[in-house]
Amino acid sequence: MTKTPVEAAAPVNDTAHYSLHLYVTGGTVRSIRAIANIRKICEVYLKGRYDLDVVDISQDPMRAQSEQIIAAPTLIKTLPLPLRRFIGDMSQTDRILVGLNLYPGGAALLPRGEL
């Protein structure tokens, strides 16, 4: 029996409003990819109930310090609690969905074409 992550086992959160902050570094490849990927995820799974704040830490390093960012791209989910961090270009959709509590445990993966 496969051990299911705690959050993935929890019921899918389909009404809460999400507050997300994506910390990127200017126009680097991964930053651009991370922005595009997280927008796609939000548009498919959180349409109409999310705020995405994209922060360029090369323009605003102090913001990185205050949020304890050590690498970019980093996505922080501040709401709903608990706070979660994700590192990388946000291309691991399944992992992001689980981390955002948007992935129903045991359900089949959504077809890739969806994103």
């Binding site: 200017g26 922060v55 360029d56 390093p61 050590i70």
Partner: protein
């Protein structure tokens, strides 16, 4: 003892808190491990390192953060909107000018598609195809189109698109530099409307208009009426000086005008003789103004054809002189009529006779004024003098003769004669009973000198006898009318009725050129 045991065994709330804390720490640890793993596996492209002067960002590929920030600040300062998109049309960069232009924030725009920032409308349906072709073939396109913001505001923009490529040369997206030209377009449109409006005035004006360069004194534009006025085609006017097109008689006179114009800003010439291309002269009024046009001086010359006005003024002058002359003549005639009437008539009826004769004069005068002193038709004169017997015309009074226009002098004298003849006919002649008739006829007779012939023949009235004395009426139908046309009268008191006939040289009695073919 019990207390000691209670202290050593944690309660369920403390256990739950410890579990939660443990879970949180596990999660933080997992995140830290994920971060380290991501750094090791090259999934991040920047690290934030604490330094003595604060956090410092190091990028792990390409440009360092300082260079990127410098580049970003430069683009942020650019007044044109700059937007980059990836191959999926998602925005990867947007500068401050673009944020302002489209009313969006960077954090909202990044990762979104262009359509979420603005809608695009091409000015011409073919532009879209040519833009795609140019981007495909040359990697760039520049042109104008309309961007519609999310608040429906339309922006006229000038876009410059460039295909972005990676080191391998593969297209990775596009860079758009967008300039808002809405204001400029608005001004251009206003200018266009103004240009059309004033060009129409210029083209359709019924005054000649010349635009002249004061530096060279040469014509730089002329309206169609100017070519009509001068007889030169438009192309022949351009580059010419005024004296060369017959507006001023020589170069000196033309230069004199320019000197006055530069001094006062405006000159006006009430009457200049314009010489047309064929050499004929035309009277014109010229008003020239010096004004500024986009920082340089130009002269606008308005040239008005005043031939018609001059003709009208000459006609008025002629009429004034004629009226003056006629008034003096008339007063002399009235004076003579009054004197003769008083001398030869019955004192008891003096006022009546004088009044009737002056009325007779007034009838002729009315007809002359009506015709602006250009003479009176014979038939109109006869009908005017016989107005009291209008109902008899066609029955007992017959009129016959061609349409002839008497001169003013002849009309006045013959009018008075007709008045005297009618008065006599009513008192003593053919119109004093119920049966008498009067035949009034006029004609032109061909002879060595063409003659005007007019007659008054009465019949059917009381028997006529030759009067014992000749009054002023006789003078009017005789000598007075003879004198006015250098003609000859015959007056016969036939038993059947009075016969009066006037013959005179045609030129003395009738206006030359008057139609003579229409019978009354």
């Amino acid at each position: 003892m019990t207390r000691q045991v209670e202290n050593e065994v944690p309660d369920s709330r403390s256990v739950l808190a410890l579990v939660e804390e443990n879970s949180r720490l596990h999660m933080r640890l997992a995140e830290a491990e994920e971060t380290l793993q991501a750094i090791r596996t090259d999934e991040v492209d920047a690290l934030v390192v604490q330094s003595v002067i604060g956090p410092k960002v190091y990028t792990l590929q390409g440009l360092d953060a300082e260079t990127m920030r410098f580049r970003g600040e430069m683009l942020a300062q650019v007044s044109d909107a700059v937007i980059a998109v990836d191959r999926d049309e998602r925005i990867t960069y947007i500068n401050a000018a673009a944020e302002k232009l489209y009313g969006v924030t960077t954090s909202r725009a990044l990762g979104n598609t262009l359509q979420q920032v603005y809608d695009l409308r091409w000015l011409n349906p073919t532009d879209e195809v040519s833009a795609h072709t140019a981007l495909g073939d040359f990697g760039e396109w520049r042109g104008e189109n309309i961007h519609i913001r999310s608040d429906a505001r339309e922006l006229n923009v000038e876009s410059s698109l460039t295909v972005l490529r990676n080191i391998g040369g593969d297209a990775t997206g596009r860079l758009a530099v967008v300039r808002d030209i809405t204001e400029r377009k608005l001004h251009e449109n206003k200018l266009q409307v103004s240009e059309v409006r004033y060009r129409r005035l210029f083209e359709a004006a019924h005054d000649g208009i010349l635009i002249i360069d004061p530096a060279t004194s040469k014509i730089i534009d002329a309206n169609p009426f100017m070519t009509q006025l001068l007889g030169y085609p438009h192309s022949d006017l351009i580059g010419k000086e005024l004296f060369e097109i017959g507006l001023w008689k020589d170069e000196h006179a033309s230069q004199d005008m320019f000197a006055k114009l530069k001094l006062s800003g405006q000159v006006r010439y009430e009457n200049l003789p314009l010489e047309r291309v064929g050499g004929e002269h035309q009277d014109v009024e010229v008003v020239a103004n010096l004004y500024e046009e986009n920082g340089r001086s130009v002269i606008q010359c308005n040239i008005r054809d005043i031939s018609e006005r001059r003709r009208s003024e000459a006609h008025v002058e002629m009429l004034m002189a004629e009226v003056n002359h006629r008034a003096k003549n008339l007063l002399a005639v009235v004076q003579a009529v009054a004197y003769q009437t008083a001398r030869q008539g019955d004192p008891a009826t003096l006022m009546t006779r004088l009044s009737e004769r002056i009325n007779g004069l007034a009838v002729g005068q009315d007809l002359l004024v009506k015709n602006q002193w250009h003479g009176v038709d014979v038939a109109d004169l006869v009908r005017g003098q016989l107005a009291h017997f209008a109902d008899l015309i066609g029955t007992r009074v017959s009129l016959s003769g061609p349409k002839l226009r008497l001169t003013s002098e002849a009309a006045q004298a013959i009018g008075m004669a007709l008045h005297e003849l009618a008065t006599n006919a009513v008192k003593y002649g053919a119109l004093s009973n119920q049966e008498g008739c009067v035949d009034i006829a006029w004609q032109t007779l061909p002879a060595s000198q063409q003659t005007f012939d007019m007659s008054w023949v009465e019949s059917g009235g009381p028997a006529v006898s030759v009067p014992t004395h000749k009054g002023f009426g006789h003078t009017i139908i005789g000598r007075l009318v003879e004198a006015s046309v250098q003609g000859v009268t015959q007056i016969k008191f036939e038993p059947s009725g009075l016969m009066w006939r006037l013959t005179a040289p045609l030129d003395n009695a009738v206006n030359p050129g008057g139609p003579a073919s229409v019978a009354v």
